[in-house]
Symmetry: C2
Amino acid sequence: PHTPDLERAMDSVVLMKNMSELAVDLAYGAVLFDSEALAEEVLNLEAEVDALQSRFEAWTLRAAGRVEDPVSLRGLVHLARSTEVISDAALEISEGVLRGIASHPVIAEAVSESDEVLVRERIAAGGDLDGTTLGEAMVKTETGMRVIAVRRAGGERTADERDDWVVSPGPNTELRAENVLLAKGPRTGAERLREACGETSSAQ
Amino acid sequence: PHTPDLERAMDSVVLMKNMSELAVDLAYGAVLFDSEALAEEVLNLEAEVDALQSRFEAWTLRAAGRVEDPVSLRGLVHLARSTEVISDAALEISEGVLRGIASHPVIAEAVSESDEVLVRERIAAGGDLDGTTLGEAMVKTETGMRVIAVRRAGGERTADERDDWVVSPGPNTELRAENVLLAKGPRTGAERLREACGETSSAQ
């Protein structure tokens, strides 16, 4: 039987998982690079995961009213709960950074200079990336940085976006002033990305 | 001060994180594709994460004996604990699959035919992939499948490998009979990968 409510519930929980994994990456970045900026983004993501959780519950309960054996949805409910645990772990790590206990010079020293970095940058009005797309601007080729997520300014979304976060941005992902980019790559790439964003100083 | 013990502790915890994220991916795959094979691999990974945890503890305690302020390592200990929570969540999800509660036809029905699949395949002796490398065999180009992890048969490792798992395999990753591949891609690619592995029937 076709159960669109159930499909939407599944989509929500898979998105929760992707966002939770992004949160873990950012939380680790916050520790490794002693970055309160990244820790703050974990808090922003957590709000989004909570919103998805509510949406998931609504779709699952609607689906339960329509499938033959509602108890069969128990596995799905467990899946969502286990996923929440993951984003909670990310939150815990980043709260450690914000309270100043998780990061420490001694940890930063253990991060090799040659390692990939994870940075947050905000696109400035009139910056090279303002009003373009990831593909048009050839961000990966031009800067060496892989953009792993884009956060829109509060409430501003494009027509096909339901959320403030674009977790797996593609070449058609639009970029505008005030958007926040999370990107991974070599240290030199981080410099180039900052210039392309048109920020005089890092958003960190 | 140069603290190689601390670097090793950090390396272990980052590897724990990568393995935990792989475990979450596999656990989700187990649910979405109703695959006990993937659930079993989560149990295998968990054993590896436990081994890393022990290694992490040893290096951290050694480092604590050498740094000026041992208590400064508290953040690192918290980080490892939060990471363990993530692999525990993956374990919980896959135990649900093995007990038959987390997966259900109704969930499998909600997975679209066009979605990417996640499969486990074992390389057969004399199969096309036996005795080659990921790059040589051009697995991605030839099959359309992205290999996200390779599990070696018990105890068998190449010179530069410390673990039974290769979590981010590259073009030089060697492939041999009895190795288990975890791979993502389109359904048609999964068929082609199975043929290249030389299995007559899937390892699932």
